[in-house]
Amino acid sequence: MKLTLRVWRQSGPQDKGKMVEYRLDDISPDASFLEMLDVLNEKLIADGGEPVAFDHDCREGICGMCSLVINGTPHGPEERTTTCQLHMRKFKDGEVIDVEPWRAKAFPVVKDLVVDRSAFDRIIQAGGYITAPTGTAPEAHSTPVPKPDADRAFEAAECIGCGACVAACPNGSASLFLGAKVTHLGLMPQGQPERWDRVVSMLDTHDDEGFGGCTNTGECTVACPKGIPLDVIGSLNRDYLKATAGGKKR
């Protein structure tokens, strides 16, 4: 395949950055999108240029490290697929492909296509856990969990923390990420004691980090490579209102 890439190049956080055009011939349709970028980088190195920096690690769609907004869509055109699992056969020969980093104030660009997503860690740090010091756990079967709750909790817990929801959201909100964790932990019996403090603390941190507000556009759930359902934001709102207006938070 022949391709024209327009890639965001930015040498560092202070640099203004711009789109730079590259041409590639002879890309295998069986290559993944990141392997195509590997080929581009090999070419750039051979030509004495600076290779494009991008984040990636597991390359099997689970670590959440890869990102990239491809032709205006986070993780590219294929639904429920991370960039690392997107293959070039999904593109047309001769296509022009725009590649940009996630855009959000809370995800500042580090270099080229690499952004800093530590805001997500700080949201989890603010309460996205169940306090269970090692060694204190009761026997696993002492608390049964109804299967539908366990299944729905799992569905929410599948979030890989990649940030595509933020990248896709017209408001730059991380409500899907936040809602996924609040829903997961809020459905487990073990998560009840901290439930109301958790949601308030996590949401406050979300807002302080500079993420936007949710207007329920639903772009996040479509962009989500794991298809986290939009109703987790409903659960998030319910828990938040119960905790604050409902006076559950102590």
Binding site: G12, I27, S28, P29, D30, A31, S32, E35, M36, D38, V39, E42, I45, E50, A53, D55, D57, C58, E60, I62, C63, M65, E78, T81, H87, R89, V110, D116, S118, F120, D121, I124, Q125, G128, Y129, I130, A132, T134, G135, T136, A137, P138, E139, A140, H141, P144, V145, P146, A150, D151, A153, F154, A157, E158, I160, G161, H184, L185, M188, Q190
Partner: protein, 645 residues
């Protein structure tokens, strides 16, 4: 045997394992270990490298205990460590199925599965702790699969006769890791753990023969920094990426372990690598990694290749009597369900005969046509739908219509830094946990045991042994000279990479090294091949230091520089792996020597000559490594030859 490629040293002995009945040893050790006064823990610093299941759980637990923990990972968040990619499940001897499971049975099966090359004491402890792990993870809110009654579900896994594997769909590793990550982040919030993501450990700070700290590079801005502590813990994972193509993450590397090895930590059994039979084959030169598909596919898929070589017809055009269902033919009783190593080797053999399918002839068919006919498409879809989807996404072929193509790929490394019962390496104050150490799995790891070991080490073992070292050693502040020396080593190495300005990319070297390793130190090893590798690797290594091109500067985000450091260490490791494989003339577990097989082509162990752990000492650049043997004694499980006919 030729002694010309290594030297022999003194035996190495695990001095910490208590004697007595096996079931009491861990309790005894915990009791005998000295404790650190709770008020003093705050003043004691522990450095942890890596945030996977082992590192994450250790950081959370040691932070909770009150130690001052500093934790590092090269990824942008601790949640991305490669433990996250584990699919299948985690074993625990809970006996919830009432099917005769017990700690002893899990212990027995793990020792046997490891082909009698692991320590009984360690494995028993692992089996014992397995039960607590499940309790711990459930308390953290890990959404394990459950039955309608609300209790935990189990499934069975290869190499065992009971149903003891706990799982969360095909994402068990992810859910367990997120549990550990969340617990870790709680300690970060509490101020007990200082977290340094996007920091890579590049050297160890040594003082008086002890590990006293690390030198790291901040991957964002390239700053070289040092951190000192009372003890250092490596939880930096395995080294499968020495093969370039593996199921490991792109960033997985051996650097932390290797730097420690160069300071005197013995490296044990480096040649034991596990090769997983059901991975998606290589599609071309662009390939950067391999994707594993759950082994459960072999429950219903039939493995075959064309009877004659070079058959390029489409699979549907090859009539039944021109197909060779070779696993069913060679192993009539186990058929397509033979263990991982046997299935892998058989696939390699048929491909070597020129009967492989797909691009490059490196693949065999895994055919579901019979299953679809027998069970119906719906049933097959319900069972394997997500795997079929993943396969189609990657290959563009629909496995409902045309057979899947699979090929074995490097998946896990059983070898690693040698540790004693306390998980302490031969460098005092340097502890090694998870896949990075060599313990527990022997020469072969059973499915669903890696998660168990990582969490056992991090949650339960290390936090009960590291206190003994810290309590016994009140250490003075580290001498500035020693810090400066370590920083200087790192800085000069980086400078060297940047100054070569050659004409070959780091990846091109890594690819070539991987190819040599796969060819000569992969699924089947021969004296001739290994000796050839022992010529090829040093030559390529030399070329690397002359011709590698590392672009950019040291003081910025520089992914080429990161890779260069990792590949340079893989070169040295590769040589040691080949030496280990060459010296071990028996076949066992993940190490198959073609010279050591019975008349049926089965692996033949040589317990009399090789019933030991091979722990290698670094003797300096260009020097032959020194072999230290740790003899293995089996008091409870007596070695037998495996047979799956």
């Amino acid at each position: 045997m030729s002694d010309s490629f290594y030297k022999s040293g003194e035996p190495v002995v695990d001095g910490k394992a208590p004697k007595g009945p096996i079931e009491d040893r861990w309790t005894t050790r915990k009791f005998e270990a000295k404790q650190v006064n709770p008020a003093n823990k705050r003043k004691k610093k522990i450095i942890i490298i890596g945030t996977g299941l082992a590192g994450g759980s250790a950081g959370a637990t040691l932070g909770e205990a009150g130690y001052h923990v500093q934790q590092f990972c090269f990824q942008d968040s601790p949640r991305r460590a490669h433990s996250i990619a584990a699919q299948g499940g985690i074993n625990a001897a809970k006996n919830y199925r009432n099917d005769g499971d017990s700690v002893y049975r899990l212990f027995y099966e793990t020792v046997k599965g490891g082909d009698f090359r692991s320590r009984e004491s360690n494995v028993y402890r692992l089996a014992d702790i397995s039960r607590q792990i499940i309790d711990q993870c459930v308390a953290q809110g890990v959404p394990f699969a459950r039955e309608y009654g609300g209790l935990l579900d189990n499934r069975s896994f290869g190499g065992t006769q009971v149903s003891r594997t706990f799982y969360a769909r095909g994402q068990t590793g992810q859910q367990l890791l997120l549990g550990a990550y969340q617990a870790l982040m709680r300690q970060v919030d509490a101020g007990n753990v200082e977290l340094y993501p996007r920091h890579e450990m590049l050297d160890l700070i040594m003082e008086d023969g002890r590990a006293r700290g690390v030198v790291v590079r901040n991957l964002i801005d390239g700053e070289i920094k040092h951190y000192t502590a009372d003890a250092v813990v490596l939880a930096s994972g395995g080294y499968g990426n020495v093969y370039f193509l593996s199921t490991n993450a792109m960033g997985s590397n051996v650097t932390a372990s290797w730097r420690a090895h160069r300071h005197g930590a013995l490296f044990a059994n480096p040649c034991y690598t596990q090769i997983h039979p059901t991975c998606i084959p290589v599609s071309g030169d662009h390939q950067s990694k391999l994707t594993l598909m759950s082994e459960s596919l072999r429950n219903d898929g039939r493995v075959w290749v064309p009877k004659k070589g070079g058959d390029t017809r489409r699979p549907s055009d090859i009539p039944e009597d021109e197909r060779d269902y070779y696993l069913e033919r060679i192993y009539p009783s186990f058929g397509n369900l033979v263990p991982r190593d046997i299935a892998s080797r058989a696939a390699k053999n048929v491909c070597d005969e020129g009967r492989g399918v797909g691009p490059g002839g490196l693949g065999v068919y895994l055919d579901f046509a019979d299953a679809i006919e027998r069970l119906g498409r719906d049933k097959v879809e319900a069972k394997y739908g997500n795997l079929f989807e993943m396969y189609e996404r990657i290959t563009g072929e629909n496995p409902y219509d045309t057979p899947m193509r699979i090929y074995p790929a490097v998946h896990y490394t059983m070898g690693g830094l040698w540790v004693d019962y306390d998980l302490e390496s031969t460098i005092p104050g340097l502890f090694v946990i998870g896949e990075a150490n060599f313990s527990d799995h022997g020469a072969n790891r059973l499915g669903a045991s890696a998660l168990m070991q990582g969490l056992a080490d991090g949650y339960f073992v290390l936090p009960n042994t590291i206190n003994d070292y810290i309590a016994r050693n009140a250490l003075p502040p580290v001498d500035e000279k020693n810090i400066a020396a370590a920083e200087e080593r790192v800085a000069s190495r980086i400078e060297k990479f940047l100054s070569i300005d050659g004409d070959r990319s780091v990846d091109s070297f890594h690819r070539e090294l991987g190819h040599i390793m796969w060819e000569y130190c992969g699924m089947e090893r021969t004296e001739e091949g290994l000796r050839k590798a022992l010529e090829l690797i040093p030559a390529l290594h030399e070329e690397f230091w002359k011709r590698v091109k590392v672009t950019g500067k040291g003081e910025e985000l520089n992914q080429q520089l990161e890779k260069a450091g990792r590949v340079a260490d893989f070169f040295e490791l590769a040589e040691l792996m080949v030496i280990d494989a060459l010296h071990r003339t028996e076949s066992c577990g993940g190490h198959f020597r073609a010279e050591s097989q019975d008349e049926d082509g089965e692996a033949k162990r040589d317990d009399d000559n090789f019933g030991y752990v091979a722990a290698w000492e670094w003797a300096g650049e260009g020097e032959q490594p020194v072999l230290h043997k740790e003899d293995l004694n089996f008091e409870y499980v007596h070695p037998t030859q495996r047979s799956y006919k």
